[in-house]
């Protein structure tokens, strides 16, 4: 049992925190946010130079063979800086699907280009009716020739507006809510029949509604066995959850610290408001919620490669529930304790709060995962009489 980072991990942490510390202060972020695209291509290049964009990929595909702990380190720094670049959709989700389940040809085609910062990707799994159920898919994949033709509509696709390629979940067979019959398809974002409507999400990130109308996909652009992709989709959702948990650690600890700093310096009634016990206790409760979230993020990180899917999913649902609950509490209290200034766009606190809110929603909110966790039987078995 060891919670310390290795020397290499500490170096990674120092290098990304160094980069973001230098280049991603709150004022710079405001500029990136209003630039076209809404994030910095320049910083993206520097991620590539540090090896971050190939972090989880093997060396032969231009990566550095990092594991889940390395991803947690990067995501936590991204959360702290509120970096806007599409790291999660490109490296963790779309890149992750190809890294884990792609053919050698697919890996060679996409992973080195991602690692070099030349292309970005997106993972399109949400539909209007699906809510958080990954298997609820209407988008159809009909066999045609040696490949498939896709028709349907994908919603709230993170980085869907600018991605160079999109990995789409679509139904090969079965009913709308069947777990069998799903496929994963890599489509070129500029392919015929794709139309995208880009927009910003509440936290300032970029997303899109993606419409697929008679989009042809060659057989070599299919990931896994068509019709049997659901376990793959679950695994990549778990990768996404673990990464979001890591990001949440950065967000929540930053919110807690920023609030403590504010309590130390803000004067009312002639004293620092941090001298008031009611505010001290609230800040302590934020710390507890943030630490509990961190503990579960570590557990999610360690469990993300667990081959026993039930154990893995259960742990991910538990972690996502804790992260969601903590995110809401810490976020709301941070705004409350900052008072009026916390309500303004001028202060970073409100932006952390918005990201925390979005993190709860992505891949299923706390109530959704609480139910999933219960359905899977929880951690402890009933005692035997």
């Amino acid at each position: 049992m060891d919670f310390e980072f290795s020397e290499e991990q500490q170096l990674l942490k120092d290098s990304i925190e160094g980069l973001l510390g230098d280049k991603y202060d709150f004022e710079s972020r405001k500029k990136f946010l209003v630039s076209s695209g809404g994030w910095s291509r320049e910083i993206w290049k520097q991620y590539a130079e540090l090896g971050l964009l190939g972090l989880p990929f093997s060396e032969e595909h231009g990566g550095i063979d990092g594991g889940p702990v390395e991803t947690m380190i990067v995501m936590s720094a991204i959360g702290n800086a509120l970096a806007l670049e599409p790291y999660l959709p490109t490296v963790v989700l779309a890149g992750g699907l190809i890294r884990r389940f792609g053919t050698e040809v697919q890996k060679n085609k996409y992973l080195p280009q991602i690692a070099e910062g030349k292309i970005t990707g997106a993972f399109a799994y949400t539909e209007r009716q699906s809510r958080y159920d990954l298997f609820d898919v209407k988008t159809a994949a009909k066999a045609s020739g040696s490949g498939f033709t896709l028709d349907g509509q994908k919603s709230v696709v993170l980085n869907g507006d600018q991605a160079d390629f999109i990995i789409v979940t679509a139904r090969v067979s079965g009913g709308q809510r069947d777990k069998d019959g799903l496929g994963l398809f890599i489509v070129d974002a500029k392919a015929n029949g794709i139309s995208r409507r880009g927009y910003r999400t509440i936290d300032g990130l970029a997303a899109a509604e993606v419409e697929l109308s008679g989009v042809n996909v060659d057989a070599d652009q299919v990931i896994g066995k068509p019709g049997a992709a659901y376990p793959l989709i679950e695994q990549i959702a778990d990768d996404g959850i673990a990464a979001l948990c890591g990001e949440a650690v950065g967000v929540l600890s930053a919110l807690t610290e920023a609030t403590t700093d504010y309590l130390r310096t803000r004067k009312q009634f002639g004293v620092n408001i941090g001298s008031f016990q009611v505010l001290q206790h609230r800040n302590v409760e934020m710390l507890i919620a943030s630490e509990q979230a961190k503990s579960m993020a570590m557990l999610a990180t360690m469990m993300v490669n667990e081959p026993d899917a039930v154990q893995r999913r259960k742990t991910m649902s538990a972690a996502k529930t804790q992260i969601g609950r903590s995110a809401q509490f810490v976020g709301e209290q941070a705004i409350q304790l900052h008072g009026g200034i916390g309500m303004t766009m001028e202060l970073k606190a409100g932006h952390w709060f918005k990201r925390a809110t979005a993190i709860d929603i992505q891949f299923g909110d706390a109530d959704y995962h609480l139910e999933q966790f219960g359905n899977m039987g929880g951690f402890e078995a009933a005692a035997q009489r």
Binding site: M1, D2, F3, E4, F5, S6, Q9, V69, T260, L263, R264, G274, S275, Q277, Q280, H281, N283, V284, E285, L287, I288, E291, Q292, A293, S295, M296, M298, L299, T301, M302, A318, T321, Q322, L370, E371, F373, G374, G378, F379, E380, A381, A382, A383, Q384, R385
Partner: protein
């Protein structure tokens, strides 16, 4: 970063688990599982079984009879003990007065008391709280005046847990009334058979009588029963309360209680279906299970950090464990009461029904559940209330 136990730690866990499976007396285990009161003999017998194995004072330094285990091993031991379930070694003896004696006491005190503590030859109780000194413990007013080779103690202690069984009490008493309130206190050991000591039970809202008032009326105690230096007792008390907080998360006990809760929730029926299948009730169980897992991980972080800490001070993060651990324990007792519905209502006084042949009001497992719910309100109050813990965190961690 590796959150898994090593192979050695896993085989240690198996060894400990196997020992508990074979050696916890069946009757003691049954009482703990059902939430019934333990008798003095249950606790004494069990601690002697542990002592024979060399595990009664496992957390002490080796030279005083401890095991020399790593922080992780100690953690595993306590988890398995609570999971079994088995009684904790008497905390007032093993976790409180024992460490004060081996850290601050003289050679004679160590030689006399420590082996007797390990074997529970002496039952110890804690003479700290007073009617006017609860959270503000340093405001205590019990006095000890030196007269020749004796102390003469006058005053009153309260909330003294299991004083009715006690052979000895460790007392915080004011020995310098002129000093600042923290600086005039001494730590004195006192034989409960000394003339002038009166113990009066206090009945708590669960109906039980586990705590007492202890009155001191001109109680003459030999001078050499002072521990450490005169007027330094507050330092020793703070040291002791720091020890009290480690292990206070009681994760193992809460896990065992959740297994019990699920067992009862599969037996009890609501709307024609087991309570376990009621989505609202199941969500409540899931929520507390998730918080418990988070607490377990937080505790492991604290334990792992202990191994690398240089100073001997308890980690302020242990205050987080106390707050969260007590909230979770209380939450589970609430759900255990909820699960039996109207059968939480019939009250059985265990003192009166002990040894009675009368059949319990069905179901037999329901009787203790509401009393435990009431009784467990104490866990966020004792050992420094959760509000005091928040003051500690605000000061020591947040710097407010």
């Amino acid at each position: 970063m590796d959150l898994n136990f090593t192979k050695e730690e896993l085989s240690f866990r198996d060894e400990v688990r196997d020992f508990f499976a074979k050696n916890v007396p069946a009757e003691t285990k049954r009482k703990l599982t059902e939430g019934r009161k333990l008798e003095k003999d249950d606790i004494v017998n069990w601690q002697r079984i542990l002592n024979k194995k060399g595990w009664a004072v496992y957390q002490w330094p080796k030279q005083y009879g401890g095991t020399g285990w790593t922080p992780v091993q100690k953690y595993i031991f306590l988890e398995e003990l609570q999971r079994a379930p088995a009684p904790d070694p008497l905390p007032f003896a093993v976790s409180m007065v024992g460490p004060v004696i081996y850290t601050f006491g003289n050679e004679e005190q160590k030689k006399h008391f420590l082996p007797r503590i390990a074997n529970l030859d002496d039952w110890w109780c804690q003479g700290f709280s007073e009617p006017g000194a609860g959270s503000d413990l340093a405001g205590l007013s019990t006095k000890a005046v030196r007269e020749g080779d004796h102390w003469v103690i006058n005053g009153q202690k309260t909330w003294t847990t299991l004083a009715q069984y006690a052979d000895w009490i460790f007392v915080l008493a004011r020995t310098d009334p002129k000093a600042k309130k923290q600086e005039g206190i001494s730590f004195i050991l006192c034989d409960m058979k000394t003339p002038g000591i009166t113990v009066r039970p206090i009945q708590l809202i669960d109906g039980g009588k586990e705590v007492n008032e202890v009155f001191f009326d001109n109680v003459k105690v030999p001078y050499e029963n002072l521990v450490g230096q005169e007027n330094r007792g507050w330092d020793y008390a703070k040291f002791l309360l720091g020890n009290e907080r480690t292990g206070i998360a009681r994760v193992g006990i809460s896990k065992e209680r959740i297994r019990r809760l699920k067992e009862l929730a599969s037996l009890e029926v609501s709307g024609g279906k087991p309570m376990m299948e009621d989505p609202r009730f199941r969500a409540k169980i899931s929520q507390v299970e998730i918080e418990l897992k988070a607490l377990e991980m937080t505790q492991m972080r604290v334990v792992a950090a202990e191994g690398t800490r240089r100073d001997n001070k308890p980690d302020p993060a242990s205050s987080i464990l106390k707050i969260k651990g007590s909230e979770i324990q209380q939450n589970i007792t609430d759900l255990l009461m909820e699960v039996v519905g109207p059968f939480a209502l019939p009250f059985t006084d265990e003192d009166e029904t002990a040894g009675s042949n009368e059949l319990p009001i069905a179901p037999d497992y329901a009787g203790p559940l509401a009393p435990i719910y009431f009784n467990y309100r104490k866990v966020s109050i004792y050992g420094g209330s959760n509000e005091i813990q928040k003051n500690i965190i605000a000061k020591a961690i947040l710097g407010l």
